[in-house]
Amino acid sequence: MREGGVRLNTTILLFLLQDGITNGAIYALLGLALVLVFAVTRVILIPQGEFITFGALTYATLSAGGVPGTASLAMVMGIVAFGFELFSTRKSLRAAKVLRAAAIYLVFPAVVLALATLLPATRPGVAVNIALSLAIVAAIGLFLYRIAFQPLAHTSVLVLLIASVGTHLALQGFGLVFFGAEGLRGPPLSDAAVTLGPLRFTGQSIAVYSITIVVMAGLWLFFGYTRMGKALRATAVNRLGARLVGIRTSLSGQLAFLLASVIGAISGILIVPITTLYYDTGFLIGLKGFVAAIIGGLVSYPLTAFAAIVVGVVEAFSSFYASNYKEVIVFTLILPVLVLRSLAAPAVEEEKD
């Protein structure tokens, strides 16, 4: 029994499960990105939340015909990253290297900024807005690695974590400046709806499932069958071994951040038609992906995906039974997992590189 005497019946049970799985699918994407980034770079990616918010609110702003501030941020970060790149390669400057850096750090964000400034007035439609939002957040993710994490790549997990917290706070501040304290909602990817017996699937929830599956299948193919994907795994398994076959740790790190930021932005774009997002909402959503990643031990992709679904379902049921304690219950999930893990694994020193 609870407020208003609503009892759990089959319809509500199915509805809660459906809701939980929809959210769980998004947490799964985020959890996978966190595992990926940690395995490759040893960074616990707290700014993942900002990739979500930036993706969601950039999409919402573009859809409303506005010019998102994130596009300018990407341009500024690109200029800074270009400076860093030139400085770090100053001993072996070659034209090809400089041109390549200029293409990535200057031309790419400049083109994106130009499109983001010119296109919104023409109301280009959902697909273009999504592509543009993804490009903006991808650029921010890539440049963030170059500016904040690549120079620290050789340091300890703790230093990287502190940098991670710092970048999270900085980006969150930018989020407030760009999008204001008011929440935004974006248009759904599809207005269609399908009714199957007692269940009603909205176009948006079907988009969530299918995009999650496509992204996971894409990641599986990338890591299992492409040389670049295998190189990323190799860096995660053995950093020195990877360098000895010529795989640049910085390249792997950039790729990991690029993937994580795109995944974060996709998650945000999937959520923003369902819930109103504020400049700081991403952190909480990212944290739920983090709970799943921790349950997966920050190493196992399948376990993380499964745990994310569990997190989503537990969240849905706790919002029914004890909505005030929803977050408490979800984040308390992490405690028994940590206790079990600490019992199962003997204490280890931090890996030395």
Binding site: K91, S92, R227, K230, A231, R233, A234, V237, N238, L240, G241, A242, R243, L244, V245, G246, I247, R248
Partner: protein, 239 residues
Amino acid sequence: MSALLQVSDVSVSYGKVEAVRDVTLEVRAREIVTVIGANGAGKTTLLNATMGIFPLKGRVVFDGVDIASLDIEDRVAAGLSLVPEHRELFATMTVEDNLELGAFRIAKATAAQSQERVYGLFPRLKERRKQLAGTLSGGEQQMLAMGRALMGAPKLLMLDEPSLGLAPIIVADIFRIIGELRAAGVSVLLVEQNAKAALQIADRAYVMELGEFVLDGPASDIAANEQVVASYLGFSHPA
């Protein structure tokens, strides 16, 4: 004849301790050169610094280019390859994937040829190609580490204690393959505690003690040197 690898007046320090002092060494094309010496003499440090894992003072010229300030990855691209003491395999990936990544920097078509050559040298790896690298025996892991390094078609292969911890029959196999590499046009810089086996296949040798070279010359002369016989080839040597 100019050397393929020319290491001149190189020193390597760990903080205040100088592990390698003013060492000069050269490896010419199609040559097997060995550095022998006791545990702790500085052999591994010298190899790792040549590969760029540690910074060094001095000059390292490889194939006509000064590589002393380059990253590991750029040295790999220049044609230098190291099989380190701990092998550094991708333990949770298959033998096939380890080899494929060995060819990370070269074109797919060339990589396929390299793979045929590596499977030819190490038929055992072909049998085990779907197995995870971490589940291989010590000897197979050494073969895989060498195979992975050869996948990138290096001009010079540097081997750090390839015989360490392996059964004598496998050591013989590994040394036979090192000999075949020279025939295939790959130069080898071999660091070994197993001086007897190393001097048998090498063209030239350096003897290292406490971070410095105390002796160098043709491997046969070194093998006949009284001091070397007494210190490294006597019956008391464990190998």
